[in-house]
């Protein structure tokens, strides 16, 4: 029986005066890829930001390894072992690839270095452009750097926001393979618009619409539920 790593319960979030999240609940089990699905503007990105405390919840709770992290500051949440790959990747443009990685590495111990070796094997491009400025990388390389960076920060949970966005199909394939590989070492919550991708690598899904959780379950069930897909994702 897999244990629940992250539990989001009835979360409400305001951004300025706008009530963006109006009741989000889902769980992420250890070693799984949980996918958040939903239309544009449904509140998927805000959900990730709320977990991380960037847009703190006004109601509800976020539990990580059983601990309530709802009111914690972002850096504290990150230090508990949550890594974040934002939609725009958040690469520090005038820092080199190496420096980008270094900012994220909390320690210099063997475990961290082993993690670094692992991600560099996963993304050989990063090793190739090790001394190059982050701003000069291609879109795919930036995505890989962002994922690698989140991973070396001693993360037990990765929040990845739309990794396929704006990438060529062949690059998407690479990113997907990497996520599947990383799953062996960490738990992943993924926001993904590309249903093809989501359905291939996701274990469970959570459907979000208008800031609310409307449905959740095993990915395999959703793949065969044409009605649900049509209603909330506009596909099928």
């Amino acid at each position: 029986m897999m244990t629940t790593l992250l539990k989001v319960e009835g979360v409400h979030t305001f951004i300025n005066q706008y009530h963006i999240l109006q009741g989000i609940s889902f769980e992420a089990k250890e070693g799984e890829v949980s996918v958040l699905l939903g239309r544009n503007g449904a509140g998927k990105t805000t959900t990730l930001k709320t977990i991380l405390g960037l847009t703190p919840a006004s109601k509800g709770s976020v539990l990580f390894k059983g601990e309530d992290i709802t009111k914690k500051p972002t850096y504290g949440i990150a230090n508990k072992g949550i890594g974040y790959v934002p939609e725009d990747q958040g690469i520090f443009a005038s820092l080199t690839v190496e420096e980008n990685m270094k900012v994220a590495m909390r320690k210099d111990d063997e475990e961290t270095l082993a993690k670094q070796d692992y991600v560099l094997n996963l993304f050989p491009d990063l090793k190739k452009f090790w001394k190059k400025d982050g701003g000069h990388l291609s879109g795919g390389q930036k995505q890989m750097l962002a994922m690698a960076r989140a991973f070396v920060g001693n993360s037990q949970l990765l929040l990845i926001d739309e990794p396929s966005k704006g990438l060529a199909p062949i690059v998407i394939e690479k990113v997907m393979e990497a996520i599947v590989d990383m799953k062996k070492h960490t738990t992943i919550v993924l926001v993904e618009q590309n249903f093809m991708m989501a359905s291939r690598i996701g274990d469970t899904y959570t459907l979000i619409d208008d800031g609310e959780t409307v449905q959740a379950g095993q990915m395999q069930e959703l793949v065969h539920d044409e009605q649900l897909k049509r209603k909330y994702l506009g596909i099928g």
């Binding site: 991380l52 960037l54 500051p73 972002t74 850096y75 504290g76 990150a78 230090n79 974040y84 934002p86 958040g90 520090f92 443009a93 005038s94 820092l95 420096e99 980008n100 270094k102 900012v103 994220a104 909390r106 701003g135 960076r149 989140a150 920060g153």
Partner: protein, 286 residues
């Protein structure tokens, strides 16, 4: 030849003093998005503190260390009491830092009296060298060396240390830095204190250079500092050095040839930069 040499050295020395003030301004702005209008007050406090410590201890080294310590303490107080409560609100920031500038300046008059105070140059650095028919004033060379030294040390910290890395990353993307587990508030505090210490050091070095110190010197230098920050690009450390040298040398030459226009020319450079290249000449990429 002698004249050009002297004007250049003069300008470089002034430039270095402005740089010490502008360096803190630009780092604080780049990282925290705060334009500290009280920065000139820290500069003036540095000058007064050094003169006071010098009179007390009769050691110029201790005087400078005392000024830096004053800068650190004032920087800490300013960040905690003045900057943190209005973080993120530009209008309030501008208003409150200017108000604090007023308080800092007036406090100087309360503590040290409203009149000018004479500042002496240490024995070792007084006088001049004669090289051929060129006379070089020692203290000016000292300021220039100190300026480059500080630049070198800070550049090293920014490029080669973890905290420097975090500062540079923070200038580009604060949210991401926090998401990587770093408490940016602490980084803000360190940078603010460092900036305040640099300004105080600038004031301390300024005192023997001009011979007299007075409370309003803070605002006068702060304006030059703002000009430098704009020309150099907000948040760019090397940019502020280069711009400070430009402003210093322009000021020195203009003061000799067209004295009435010396400030005007620097103002004009700033206006032109603001109008045509508002990001400054060396804006940090982000």
């Amino acid at each position: 030849m002698e004249l050009l040499m002297n004007l250049t050295i003069n300008g470089l020395a002034t430039g270095m003093l402005i740089f010490l003030l502008a360096a803190g301004l630009t780092l604080i702005f780049g990282l925290m998005d705060v334009l500290n209008f009280a920065h000139g007050g820290l500069f003036a406090w540095g000058a007064y503190a050094s003169v006071w410590f010098y009179a007390l201890t009769d050691s110029f080294v201790l005087a400078i260390l005392g000024a830096i310590l004053t800068g650190v303490i004032l920087g800490f107080i300013t960040e905690k009491l003045i900057i943190t409560p209005v973080y993120g609100n530009h209008v309030q920031q501008i208003l409150i830092t200017l108000g604090f500038m007023l308080v800092l300046t007036e406090m100087l008059k309360v503590v040290f009296g409203p009149n000018q105070i004479a500042a002496r140059t240490p024995e070792l650095l007084s006088g001049s060298w004669e090289i051929g028919d060129v006379i070089i004033i020692k203290y000016r060379v000292f300021i220039i060396i100190m300026g480059f030294l500080v630049f070198g040390v800070f550049q090293y910290i920014l490029k080669k240390t973890k905290i420097g890395l975090i500062v540079r990353a923070g200038v580009m993307n604060k949210e991401m830095v926090q998401a990587l587990g770093i408490n940016i508030k602490n980084v803000f505090l360190y940078v603010f204190i460092a900036g305040a210490a640099l300004a105080a050091l600038g004031g301390a070095l300024m005192a023997p250079y001009s011979g007299v110190i007075y409370a309003e010197m803070g605002m006068e230098f702060a304006i030059l500092g703002f000009i430098v920050v704009v020309i150099g690009g907000m948040g760019s450390f090397p940019g502020s050095l280069l711009a400070a040298i430009i402003v210093g040398i322009t000021g020195s030459y203009m003061a000799y040839y067209v004295p009435s226009l010396s400030l005007a020319v620097n103002m004009m450079i700033m206006a032109i930069v603001l109008i045509f290249r508002p990001q400054g000449l060396f804006r940090a990429k982000g």
